[in-house]
């Protein structure tokens, strides 16, 4: 079994804004592209053009409907990838030490050369955030683009996870949750960011911003300037035409 660090210097992770995510899957494919070409084995697609295509994805978007008694149903798009938990059960369950949490930034990684493909970590993860690669039979998971965020071959502004860089709606944010003044910490504070399934005791680093209220438009009926008919002495024409005439005089 593998142990977790007692403390990490930084807590790098994502804030995912469920109020803004339109479910476009841009993050899913951007992740697929970067991680197929980079960290470890390429993300394989089995039966790629066949009857049952099944590929490895480190990030997937799920869609849920929320029915409500007195308001129209809501639809929530829910992107999900590894949450880089502080108490990551996928690490402690690993028999070889292949799964580990980095001391310096808290990123949970799989050292593929030590992974025996036993799949225990995927069973241990309550979020279903790990996928066994169909071709290489090693466990794949979100690396938080560890090979982008420190990559000296990338311009400074591109040193962020591929999913964050590409998100068209700006629903994904990357930063250090150990720093209370970081962009992500401030977002979580301002918007009531939440842990996913806190009852699991995994202490996830990634946070979700809940959707704001929907279908709340309750404006009183439009106060009319022309109806009910203003009965102004000396105004020969009333109703809309009367209003129009007076309004034109003021222009």
């Amino acid at each position: 079994m593998t142990s977790l660090p007692t403390h990490t210097e930084r807590k790098l992770g994502l804030v995912i804004d469920l109020d803004t995510c339109v479910g476009c899957h841009a993050c899913v494919i951007s992740c697929k592209g970067w991680n197929t070409e980079n960290y470890g084995a390429p993300l394989a697609d089995m039966d790629a053009w066949g009857e049952t295509p099944e590929g490895t994805f480190l990030n997937r978007v799920h869609t849920f409907e929320v029915t409500r008694d007195t308001a129209p149903p809501m639809v929530v798009h829910f992107p999900k990838s590894c949450l880089h938990c502080d108490d990551a059960p996928c690490v402690t369950v690993c028999p070889t030490g292949a799964s580990y949490k980095r001391v310096e930034d808290g990123i949970v990684l799989v050292n593929e050369s030590a992974c025996i493909g036993c799949g225990l970590c995927a069973w241990a993860c309550p979020y279903g955030a790990r996928e066994m690669d169909g071709a290489e039979k090693v466990m794949k998971k979100c690396t938080l683009c560890v090979d982008r965020i420190y990559n000296e071959n990338l311009p400074e502004r591109d040193r962020e996870p591929a999913c964050v860089r590409t998100c068209p709606a700006g629903a994904r944010h990357f930063g250090d949750f150990a720093d209370p003044d970081s962009h992500v910490s401030r977002l979580v504070a301002a918007r009531g960011g939440i842990d996913l399934m806190p009852e699991q005791g995994t202490r996830p680093v990634n946070k979700y911003l809940p959707p704001r209220g929907r279908d709340t438009l309750e404006t009183p009926a439009l106060a009319s300037l022309c109806d009910p008919l203003p009965d102004t002495p000396g105004t020969p024409v009333q109703g809309f035409l009367g209003w129009l005439d007076r309004a034109l005089e003021r222009i």
Binding site: A26, I29, G33, W34, G55, V75, N153, A221, C226, F240
Partner: protein, 940 residues
């Protein structure tokens, strides 16, 4: 704990980044193509690009899989089996081009109209149209007729521009945004980026759509409207705003034809504007009570009173407008049931529009001068913005619905003002500034002018001496007078019927007309394969160009294989469908970041080669040799007018010309250096009020958008439409056939109206109680996504989504299949329950379904076995009404295909249904079977 592994945190990303333009949809985002060892390793968004500013959607990021698709064609193909079978032999380019030239040469010499050349979703329409004009056939258009011409035409006729490529919300300032209809596949990254900006600022988003998916899922308020009733809902909002006096009278007087006096005298001028001797429309000056020219100095145009001439009172447009929309017919209570929206909710939305428009107005301290010479110290705007696309447009009442939407925008003064809707250059551009349509053809000669345009009256229809349509698609005929984009969806059925005449060669580019781009798909396939008494094909020859093994390929006699978008030159041109922003002029290119590894050629270069072989004017030198080496040569050196070419940037010998300038041989190199695009900001004083802003008009002339300033006012009342009504009433020399008179009188109303869609009006709601729609997923675009190994895992089949009400009524259970029946056909699909849905609407994904054998997919692929097209349920004609006539399933103004008028009934499919109906026979694949598994990694 053992020593922590030390992965390589700085792997080499690429040898080189090549910046070009995406073509995974029509958005045209800038992309960074990361190359390793000469191969494409990774694609992400170009941060400096004006369209996407670095972001990229799922399609764009999956471009590498499109580039490597096993469905890519490999060489020119000549048909050897029967049409539709997909049996071909590969031939050389020389043979292919000789064959095409041999087929086309005699047509040009004797009857150029016998070539029908139609292109699908390409972005080189100014080029293909130019080619067709040189050939001399009147039969050219692109796909707008079955896409969103209602939106485009309504926008041009009403205010000189529409949504998407014509204009955009002022994302940085708007405080209330209304999004109508399906819009998720067009302009998708800019809209997502804009929605993100609105969310950041806490601006309210209202989504009006029968389906709460995608953008509507994040809308603060969702209006699950009944399909086809958007116009009625919008006019109820207009009713409320008028009733409350929440309209911008000052804006209406200054910038619209609201004060124009409408001739009330009986006769041939009735309903046209009163004009002075110079032809200038007249308004009533409140100060004198006299009728004076609309642009006379120092007048106070009236909106309330008319002028009396010879005992007849002529009222201003505004009075006609208020008389109509203040009617109780448009009251929220009167429309609520039909629209499926409670009346209080309509009133609340109207009130919110009024509140934001008039209590949160925006003022920018930016002086500007209008075209009358009046200086304004500030720019004031009403921060309510709207956007709509095909969902509103693809109905038989779509033109008037889009007009109604623009009416709403204009009444509150939110067009071209801060916080509202802003045009993108070269728009605004009123109908008068566009060409008229042309169809004058003479053997051996070019056409007498551009094919498409904006008619201003019946005199501009394309009819011959016998009043028969001159075009094979019957565009610009009485059946569709303002069909500004042509009517591609009618070409095959008309050609098959020989109505209005027979053709010889059907030449299509990138248009999957044998599948998801046609209504009535099964019968279209029969038309393409039908033979006459001699055993000859009724449509004698079909040439098709596509990069991939699509369904349409199987029906061609000759296939000209195109390259992928990473292997070609293209220009996204101001002459065409540009990528400008509201605050800037912009255009861009594609260039071959890799060379093809197959015997394929870019279609535009092939077309130039074919044009040279045919000796078409403009494509050959005096000695008869080819004028252009390839499309890149054309892009740099073609001039449409002196100094104006396909690309506006880096013109002139020094590359300093912007908009205007002589051709620059280094132009494409300069674009590549600049990241694949060119961009110039509009001056600050010209940023808003563009139709009326002298600084904008002068800047537009300097940049070559116009040759002289073109200020104009918005057409709340569209006089060209009235001219068609007058003809229908019997005035004028060019008269419609009698059976169309009543319809023209109704549909060509110069003020926006709403009427039930033709299908709704003719359908027994008991027999077909449900509306059926398609949406195109954000992660997929048209047919192209299904060959994409990554994207097909996101959307691989087409479940039918049904509301909880339908689910319960039909007793559906998880895993069931449904049969969907329209008056025209029947399909079966697996059902899924969705409650965030108009209860009387069912829907599925568009263009996921595939014919077996196409796109290099396995014959058992879910795209074929568990997917279907609603196209099978939709006919290009309405069911017979018993009047002996067949009426088009199109908008009566523009001819736009009314895809979303569809009505159906639903039943549980027989137990055991596991494969979709109809199941078409497989087509043979002209490309090899792909490998089973994929693990693509470029080792640099």
């Amino acid at each position: 704990m053992s020593v922590q592994p030390a992965p390589d945190l700085s792997p080499r990303v690429s040898d080189e980044i090549r910046k070009t333009t995406c073509y995974m949809c029509a958005c045209r985002c800038g992309i960074d193509v990361h190359m390793k060892g000469g191969k494409v390793a990774y694609i992400d968004g170009n941060r400096d690009h004006p369209v996407n500013k670095g972001v990229l959607c799922a399609k764009g990021s999956a471009g590498i899989m499109q580039h490597l698709s096993p469905a890519r064609l490999r060489a020119p193909l000549k048909r050897v089996g029967p049409r539709g079978s997909g049996e071909f032999k590969e031939i050389s380019w020389d043979e292919a081009l000789s064959l095409a030239a041999d087929w086309l040469r005699p047509l040009r010499a004797t009857a150029p109209e016998k070539l029908a050349f139609f292109t699908g979703r390409d972005q080189s329409q100014s080029f293909t149209g130019w080619w067709a004009q040189a050939f001399g056939t009147p039969n050219w258009a692109a796909h707008g007729g079955f896409c969103s011409v209602n939106m485009a035409a309504a926008g041009i006729y009403t205010m000189g521009g529409s949504f998407w490529e014509f204009g955009q919300p002022d994302w940085e300032r708007t405080k209330l945004f209304l999004l109508f209809g399906v819009a998720e596949d067009h302009d998708s990254n800019p809209i997502k980026m804009g929605l993100g900006r609105l969310k950041e600022r806490g601006a309210r988003v209202i989504g009006v759509n029968p389906i709460r998916s995608g953008y509507n899922a994040i809308a603060d308020d969702w209006v699950g409207i009944t399909p086809g009733t958007d116009g009625l809902f919008i006019l109820a909002l207009v009713h409320e705003l008028l009733r409350a006096g929440k309209i911008d009278l000052d804006y209406l007087i200054r910038y619209t034809n609201a004060p124009y006096l409408v001739n009330a005298a009986d006769g041939s001028e009735n309903g046209l504007f009163l004009r002075d001797a110079d032809g200038k429309p007249l308004v009533r000056d409140r100060r004198t009570g006299h009728a004076v020219a609309w642009d006379a100095p120092d007048i106070a145009p009236d909106l309330a009173a008319g002028v009396e001439i010879a005992g007849t009172t002529h009222l201003p447009v505004f009075r006609h407008l208020t008389d109509r929309y203040l009617s109780k017919d448009y009251a929220p209570d009167a429309v609520a049931k039909r629209c499926g929206i409670p009346a209080p909710r309509i009133r609340a939305i109207a009130a919110e529009i009024a509140r934001v428009a008039f209590e949160e107005e925006i003022t920018i301290p930016q002086p500007w001068t209008d075209f009358r010479g009046v200086r304004h110290e500030t720019m004031t705007g009403r921060p309510v913005a709207m956007h709509a696309m095909r969902g509103v447009s693809a109905h038989s009442n779509g033109f008037q619905t889009a007009r109604a939407l623009h009416l709403l925008q204009i009444l509150i003064g939110s067009v071209e003002t801060p916080g509202g809707f802003r045009f993108k250059p070269p728009y605004p551009k009123p109908p008068e500034a566009h060409p008229r349509p042309h169809a004058g053809h003479v053997p051996g000669q070019p056409l007498d002018g551009p094919h498409l345009g904006y008619p201003l009256g019946p005199e501009h229809l394309l009819l011959d001496e016998a009043d028969q349509p001159k075009r094979i698609d019957k565009a610009f005929s009485w059946e569709a007078p303002l069909s500004a984009h042509g009517m591609m969806h009618m070409v095959i059925s008309n050609a098959h019927a020989g109505d209005p005449y027979k053709i010889d060669t059907l030449f299509l580019y990138m248009a999957n007309m044998a599948w998801n781009s046609s209504m009535n798909t099964t019968q279209v396939m029969q038309m393409l394969t039908d033979t006459d008494a001699n055993g000859d094909y009724v449509i004698p020859r079909i040439i098709y160009s596509d990069a991939y093994s699509s369904e349409m390929v199987a029906f061609a006699d000759l296939v000209l294989p195109d390259t992928t978008y990473l292997e070609r030159h293209d220009c996204i041109s101001l002459l065409d469908r540009p990528i400008c922003e509201a605050e800037a002029l912009a255009d861009s290119i594609r260039w071959p970041v890799v060379q093809p590894d197959r015997d394929v050629r870019p279609f535009q270069s092939v077309l130039l080669d074919l044009g040279a072989r045919l000796g078409l004017p403009g494509m050959v030198k005096d000695d008869g040799t080819a004028k252009f080496k390839d499309y890149a040569d054309y892009i740099s050196n073609h001039e449409r007018r002196p100094g104006i070419g396909p690309l506006a940037g880096f013109r002139g010998p020094d590359g300093m010309g912007q908009g205007r300038g002589a051709p620059n041989p280094d132009q494409i190199a300069r674009y590549i250096e600049n990241g694949g695009f060119w961009f110039e900001h509009i001056p600050e004083e010209a940023q808003f009020f563009k139709p009326w802003n002298a600084a904008y008009q002068n800047w537009a002339v300097a940049r070559g958008l116009f040759d002289s300033p073109q200020p104009y006012v918005f057409n709340l009342y569209a006089e060209p439409l009235r001219r068609f009504q007058l003809a229908a009433e019997g005035y004028g020399s060019r008269q419609p056939p009698d059976h169309l008179r009543a319809r023209l009188m109704e549909a060509m109303d110069p003020l926006p109206i709403w009427y039930p869609t033709f299908t709704d009006a003719a359908t027994d709601p008991a027999a077909y109680p449900l509306h059926a729609l398609t949406q195109r997923p954000m992660a997929h675009y048209h047919s192209w996504g299904s060959q994409n190994a990554w994207l097909r895992q996101i959307h691989g089949h087409t479940p039918l989504y049904v509301s909880g009400e339908v689910w319960r009524a039909r007793g559906f259970r998880s895993g069931d299949w449904a049969t969907l029946t329209s008056p025209h056909g029947r399909i079966t699909l697996p059902v899924v329950r969705m409650d965030a849905l108009n209860p009387h609407t069912v829907w599925t994904w568009n263009a996921i379904a595939k014919r077996r054998g196409a796109w290099a997919l396995d014959a058992c692929a879910p795209e074929a076995a568990q997917s279907s097209l609603l196209n099978h349920l939709i006919h290009e004609l309405l069911p017979p009404k018993g009047d002996g006539l067949r009426w088009a399933n199109s908008d009566p103004v523009t001819g736009q295909a009314a895809w979303y008028d569809l009505r159906v009934r639903i039943e549980k499919a027989p137990a055991g249904q596991r494969v979709t109906y109809p199941a078409h026979p497989a087509q043979a694949s002209p490309v090899p079977n792909p490998p089973r598994d994929l693990a693509h990694q470029v080792k640099g």
